[in-house]
């Protein structure tokens, strides 16, 4: 994307007036999407964005500037701006020499693409097939929306410590959302697949299956009763979202929250923070999962980090800046939405390792409770540990059997308390894709877990 001598000159300019660290993050990204709604292909959209963000760190201050102009002149101007703002922030004026760049980390490809461009007509065929399959699922399906999205993101990271890395990331996403109409009103169901892959995703995934899952979810809720209110045992199905751990502790283990004392997990390393059944991993290297990449957005290779082992907190998640302050290495968790954003500590694929229990047995041994087949999103306050996560497909458990469907509701709990209440983990592990929002930036993440039970969570339904 940019020649090495140019990068060296730009980094030199960035540090010409002082600073301990400079970095160029260049990105060339193109997205294409197609939307079928109301039985029609309504919109095909294509977008392209390229540019570079330049960071200069002086003392405790980071100066940042970005530009859509990838010429040497454009980059030099951005470097001057980043240097100027770093200095206007009042940081010190140490000077370091810029190391010569070496591609020690090299180049990676995350999600190789079978074809450089996907024929638009092919994506439309997928959308139509999904629409047909969803509508064929039941006469009560009153509306279907199907969406395809593909992106190509080429990144290059070079910094004053001599690091030079490139990563080609290919991602593909397909989702189906259905509305079912019945005597009780409207109900919704959706299903999404999203992977760090090109179009070959569809060799593995049947869009008809996705459509039928989405439709089934909406149809089953037509006869749903309002969710209960109050604390109940909850069984989460394998692959139902895994969002529980993402919210209950994932965010609270991000080193920026830790450094600011804004997490209930401050000072807890080495301590029992969860049930011994809980071993939690964040791993940016897993196959072609949605949160997988070759290098993070600071040029660190993706890696596997064990965060909680047998219930004991072992590690936080680190980006370059937080790790540097502690005199340690980044854990490969520095990510940013685009070149226009500063990187921060983010999760990749966060999952609970499977246990030894049988999923059906867990339900059978639950006399009364709620079975959550699919979760929606969630949210956490890392300082208090209080978090919510929403159901989009849930059922009552009565006498050890899954019975009536329930309408959507949020569940609420406190991270450290809920983690200690995990009393069974099964073997049926599965991952699901999600979008994680933090401080206004969205990045793709994966979440995973097997079927598990929590002895008590508050569910926010309407029936006492």
């Amino acid at each position: 994307m940019i020649d090495t001598p140019v990068l060296e000159r730009v980094l030199g300019e960035a540090l010409r007036h002082g600073g301990e660290f400079a970095e160029v993050f260049a990105e060339d990204r193109s997205n294409s999407s197609a939307l079928l709604d109301d039985g029609r292909v309504e919109e095909l959209s294509s977008g392209r964005e390229r540019g570079a963000g330049i960071r200069v760190v002086t003392g405790d201050t980071t100066g940042f500037a970005h530009t859509a102009d990838l010429s040497e002149e454009g980059l030099i101007r951005a470097a001057e701006a980043a240097s100027a703002v770093a200095r206007s922030g009042g940081g010190g004026t140490h000077t370091v020499a810029v190391g010569s760049l070496h591609a020690a980390e090299g180049s990676r490809r995350s999600g190789s693409d079978r074809a450089p461009t996907v024929p638009k007509a092919d994506t439309l065929d997928l959308l139509r097939r999904a629409d047909e399959a969803a509508r064929a699922s039941g006469g009560a399906i009153s509306q279907v929306q199907a969406g395809y999205g593909g992106s190509r993101r080429d990144v290059l990271i070079a910094n004053s410590e001599g690091l030079l890395a490139t990563d080609q990331q290919r991602r593909t996403r397909f989702s189906v959302s259905c509305v079912a109409e019945g005597d009780t009103g409207l109900q919704t169901g959706s299903e999404t697949t999203a992977r760090t892959l090109g179009y070959e995703l569809f060799d593995e995934v049947s869009v008809e299956d996705l459509a039928r899952m989405a439709a089934g979810r909406a149809l089953s809720k037509l006869s749903a009763r309002p969710a209960p209110s109050g604390e109940v045992p909850v069984v989460l199905a394998g692959g139902s979202g895994g969002i529980l751990f993402h919210e209950a502790c994932g965010h609270g283990l991000e080193a920026d929250h830790i450094a600011k004392n804004a997490s209930v997990y401050v000072g807890q390393v080495g301590k029992q923070v969860a049930s011994p059944l809980v071993t939690l991993v964040d791993d940016g290297t897993v196959g072609s999962e949605w949160g997988t990449f070759g290098f993070d957005d600071e040029g660190r290779p993706a890696q596997r980090n064990v965060l909680i082992e047998d219930g004991i907190l072992t590690e936080y998640l680190w980006d370059y800046l937080r790790a540097r302050k502690e005199g340690r290495k980044s854990s490969g968790n520095g990510r940013r939405q685009t070149y226009q954003h500063l990187p921060m500590v983010r999760m990749t694929n966060t999952f609970l390792l499977p246990g030894n229990d049988d999923a059906d047995e867990i339900v059978a041994q639950t006399p009364h409770g709620v079975y959550v087949a699919k979760l929606g999103g969630g949210q956490v306050n890392t300082t208090t540990g209080d978090f919510v996560f929403g159901t989009t497909e849930a059922y009552l458990i009565e006498g050890g059997r899954i019975t009536e469907p329930l309408r959507d509701a949020n569940l609420i709990g406190n991270g450290p308390e809920i983690l200690k209440r995990v009393d069974a983990v099964a073997t049926d592990f599965a991952m699901t894709p999600g979008t994680c929002g933090k401080d206004g930036q969205s990045v793709p993440v994966g979440c995973g877990q097997a079927t598990l039970r929590i002895t008590g969570v508050t569910i926010g339904g309407t029936t006492e």
Binding site: G51, T61, G90, G91, S229, N261, N410, I412, T458
Partner: protein
Amino acid sequence: MTTATETTSAAAGPHPDGPDDLLALADRVAGWARSGEDVEVYVARGDETEIRAYDGEVESLTSATSAGIGVRVVVDHKLGFAWAGSLHESVLAETLDEARDNATFATPDDHVQLAVPDGVVAVPFDLWDEALSTIPTSQKVALALALEAQARAADPRIRQVSSADYGDTSVEVALVSTTGIRSSNRKTQGFISVGVIAGDGDASQTGGGFDTARGFDGLDPDKATADAVGRAVRMLGATKGPSGRSVVVFDRRAASTLLSVISTALSGEAVAKGRSFFAGRIGEQVGDTGLTLVDDPTNPLAYGAASYDAEGLACRRNELIVAGLLKGFLYDTVAGSRAGVASTGSAVRGGFAGTPGPGCRALALTPGPEGFDEDGVLAAVGDGLFVQSMTGVHSGVNPISGDFSVGAEGLMIRDGKLAEPVREITVASTLQRILHSLVAVGADVEWLPGIAAGQTLAVGDMQISGV
């Protein structure tokens, strides 16, 4: 950076103070339209400053300019869209070509069309603060540092200032179409926000505050700090609240969020596609007779005040629910055509990378009697739950089915006054029932950032889940 969330002004000819070069560029690209096709060109350019203070230092400082173009092509009733994050000469024709190519794949639809000027005269607004560009960075840095220091010193129970930010944006937009739309607009915005952590023993509680202004002047760190500190400190000692049926008073911020969610179901597009619980209910009683809901971006006090919508039509006042009766929905050109009505001038778009769709800009309930503020609402309610913050709105509120279940924190209301703090509870009902269960609407309208006014709101018969 956020680019051009608000759009367009001056239907005919360039705005006297508008970005003439952007208009000229949009004119030029629209001029490349071929016979038989309609083209709409949206170009935007923005400057941004963002400063984060932490522990007496500047943690980060961002200064950036960005620009982009979004092109819609309609040919044979088929729509195609393309965008690029650059206004470089080489990408302009490429973007138009890509939009043109995308259009060939769409399903023909008689309702697909670009906006045509409808003769409605726009209310002019000056949303540009010329002074903003003259404020030196050092002064903005000083404000961020002062905000952080002030929050830290505000109360001995403040353990940490987790964030203290200053930001400003200046955005210019031009919109030109071959169907006769030609407009431009520019807008500045300044903001500060602060997040604090209050502590007492082992327990920590959080609070956030902010202020916005047209530019740098007028930003009030006292207001932001007092709000953040007050919210955090009053939550100290919070325990998990009790379960039961209760009246719930939503503070102005929570009420604004609630109205925003309801607005999704008032989109004419959602209604036309059967994705709203309001579908097919025009003329019916959908709420309490005390409920009147109006979207009025022509109100100069509204945060979302705008002259023109995202398709270049004049924004106007739209009555949606009057005395509990459902009167109408919000339409852009395509959704209006689908429903057999004209656009209500309600198109919104998320910048150059997005296409327009109908949405609210300045939604508000008719306020209660003069002077009826938060204290008044609390006194009228007597006993219940006061909610100062909601979580999981995206995961627990469904504007299609109407199911409503959110995490909440706040304080109990006893004898008409705020009492002990509670946390880790949910508040649930349905949006349909909420509209029928309004107990009180405050007169304390505050135009918070977003699409709906903040005004204290009391809703009866909600289910609280806690201990």
